[in-house]
């Protein structure tokens, strides 16, 4: 059970959260301008690094706010969590 630091509520048990996949994927401004391949890339293709990974979390059973995190997929440890309007740590 991970201890997840919600930027708004502080450290809470993982069961209060929902995982939201890779962070930093912005919905295209004009999806219809994209080719099928470009759209499929946005829709289906995700990074799968071993090491630090930027991902989204949702505090479902708490403040119900989305936030971002950097988590090391090799150690399962959070490097940082930050609000949507904050830049990711370097």
């Amino acid at each position: 059970m991970l201890l997840v630091r919600c930027p708004w509520c502080g450290p809470r048990d993982e069961i209060e959260f929902r995982y939201g996949g890779q962070a930093g994927l912005t919905y295209p401004a004009d999806p219809e301008a994209l080719t099928d391949d470009e759209w499929a890339d946005y829709l289906f293709m995700r990074d799968n690094p071993k090491g630090p990974f930027r991902e989204r979390w949702f505090h479902t059973a708490g403040c119900r706010r989305w936030f971002n995190a950097v988590r090391d997929t090799a150690t399962h440890r959070f490097v940082a969590t930050y609000r949507l309007d904050e830049e990711p740590p370097p």
Partner: protein
Amino acid sequence: MTGRRLPDGGSRLDRSRPIAFTFDGRELTGFEGDTLASALLANGVDVVCRSPILGRPRGIVSAGVEESSAFVVVSEPWFEPIVAATMVNLVDGLTASGRAGVGVLPADPPRTKPSMHRHAHVEVLVVGSGDGWLAAAEEAVRRGDRVLLVEREPWLAGGAPDGLTILTNATALGLYDDGYAIVHERGPERDTLWHVRAGRVILATGAHERPIAFADDDRPGVMLAGAVARYVREFGVLPGERAVIFTTNDSTHEVSETLTDAGAEIPFVADVREGWAVTGIEGDTHVEAVHVVGPGGERRTVEADLLAVSGGWNPTAQLSRAIGGGLRYDEALATYVPDGTGPDWLEVVGTAAGDGLPRSAPYWYTPADDLSMHFVDLQRDQTVQDVLDAVGGGLRSVEHVKRATYIGTAIDQGRTSGVLTAEIVNAALGWELGAQGPTNARPPFVPVPFSVLAGMDRGRTLLDPKRTTPVHEAHVERGAVFENVGQWLRPRYFPEGGEDLERAVARECLAVRTATGALDASTLGKIEVVGPDAAVFLDRMYTNRMSNLSVGSIRYGFMLGLDGMVFDDGVAMRLAEDRYLVTTTTGGAAAVLDRFEEWLQTEWPDLRVSCTSVTEQWAVVAVGGPGARDVVTDLGTDVDLAVEAFPWMTWREGTITGVPCRVCRVSFHGELSYELHVSSWHGRHVWDAVVRAGAVPYGTEAMHVLRAEKGYVIVGQETDGTVTPDDLGMGWIVNPSKGDFVGKRSLVRADTLRNDRKQLVALLPSDPTALPVEGAQLVGSAELPEPPVPMLGHVTSSYRSPILERTFALAMLKDGRAMHGATVWAASGGETIACEVTGPVVYDPEDGRRDG
């Protein structure tokens, strides 16, 4: 064996409190403080159970959690299907008998101990009061930390500093990420499963003694040496009068002294460091003599009733290992010790870290021509020969040997057999000592009953939250048969006069088609979407335009996933310029709200919109059928119900039977219908009035038949995450001219434009009484060809239609719209049912009934 209680001694015992218990039908006594194992030894019971595969007699080997031999089933005062005798605290009336292999549940549910879950948050969790714990705990207490100590035994061996919280009879089952621990506390009347979140975890779990394998090493009377000393000191029990000691290390000196002080003889010490070894045992059900061999090959037989064995000590580091702590081989100790790696919040101290353990010779088993009775894992009846056979069969990894032999998979989890097996494998492969360590350990550290994991979340009331509508009691009083829809309890049908499901549903359906029915639709998900940008937002979420809906109107819409597949459906009512009420499927309400919030927060934070779930604030009574207008009129209302004043897909505000109400002209069955939305507080009042006015209550089963007759889909029944609006024949609901909405781009992907996609159709069986099975595959011939059979589609809904007096089904069929008039066969269980393919609306396709 001649185990007996000593006249005095036993630091754990309260000799003023005798305890009566029953074992294998014999009435015996022990003392407060005994375990079942110590009490059996005190009563001279040597054979506790028979081994599971070979049926060999087995006795008590250890004094703790590492027990690999003596297992029992406990029937009183609480049921435990199988447990080590060393782990059972003696209580009055305890009834147990030997049990080998696996536990068996009785036919009648046995009495299990009540249990509950609790949570604790501490700066420091100390697991075990093995040596090294005290210094760490004292320092933390001095700092002002909250410190929790969990100890498996009923008491602490020494004192504890003030300001410490102590749980005894409590075993840490596992350590998890970020200092999370699950602890099982066994109380006399109740068990507690603790969820502990700790800033730091200190593991002071001590070490377990390791046996040595030799012929007939499983005989009752062969015990771990340290356990023999503990029985004398802590329980005042002398396990034998004449003890041979077989050792690789100096820890047995103290055992010899303890035994001698208690009046036992030590006729021989076979120390492998001096070239001596035990080669075998005399005696069938207990030790009568011990065969030894010396450095020059000289052989002797020593009369004895006890053999105390020490093959060295293994740190108890399984909890650390399971969370990523590493091990290294220590040559001096001839075992594996924690290597300092692992989570930064975890510290292993004392003998659990290998500190202070005695040096040991690396000696695993006594060589012999026949190794088939050199038991390595007693509970699995596996020997040195079995390990060598596995290696001979080509296995090299201990993990593979474990899976081939099952060594280490029994209740003791390889605590005594793990290092032994690893070094037998290493030696057999010609590898050096420590080349590969024991198999990994996983939680739980000791077995835990499912009843403890369940805690109070059991029984009909507590297993899962149960949601009921404000009208629920009326349904109960009417004798409704309920079904679970998500967590909601909904009436499935209302049997009258002994009706079965089919007859009740037929009556309820005909009431709606020919008179008036009433449905409790309060479970509909309801979300208020409010704000200056609410209209823009809903345009982006739904396939059709919601921004041009006038106040007072209603529109049905689909929400799609980004992949273009149908995600949920419902209607949007415009309450005001900046305010909509959207309904969702009963099961989809939470997911839809999540999705609204996700898009608003992560993609469109500029939109000024807020979303609030109001599902439980509103009760909804749907009054439908040709007589619906008369029934609502009879209730007394100031709403003008005339078709011209109150057309299809609009809503009006007013009062009904004296209470404020939103009346909606929507219908899920094609008949004239008024949905009455009232405050939850008034739900029962309105329902009762509607039924009194003559509407026939109907349940979800009739609702399903009625909607299917009209070809109305249910998201999750006709759809399965691979279905687009066009597949459902509902391309009209997609408004491509209004700008972007979620999923729009995917509707023109090559895959979504394929013309052989499955499309919604209705099926009319040639035999009007034949009912296809929901989920049945559709095939192209009455006789099934040899597999693989080409699959054309599948049945999604299948019912008997009372109004059509025949069966019908909805199905997803490849290129189905081009196949109207064709015949397909619904296949199930080797039988096929011939069906004509038609458009999905089998009743009133021209929508002639909805205005009454």
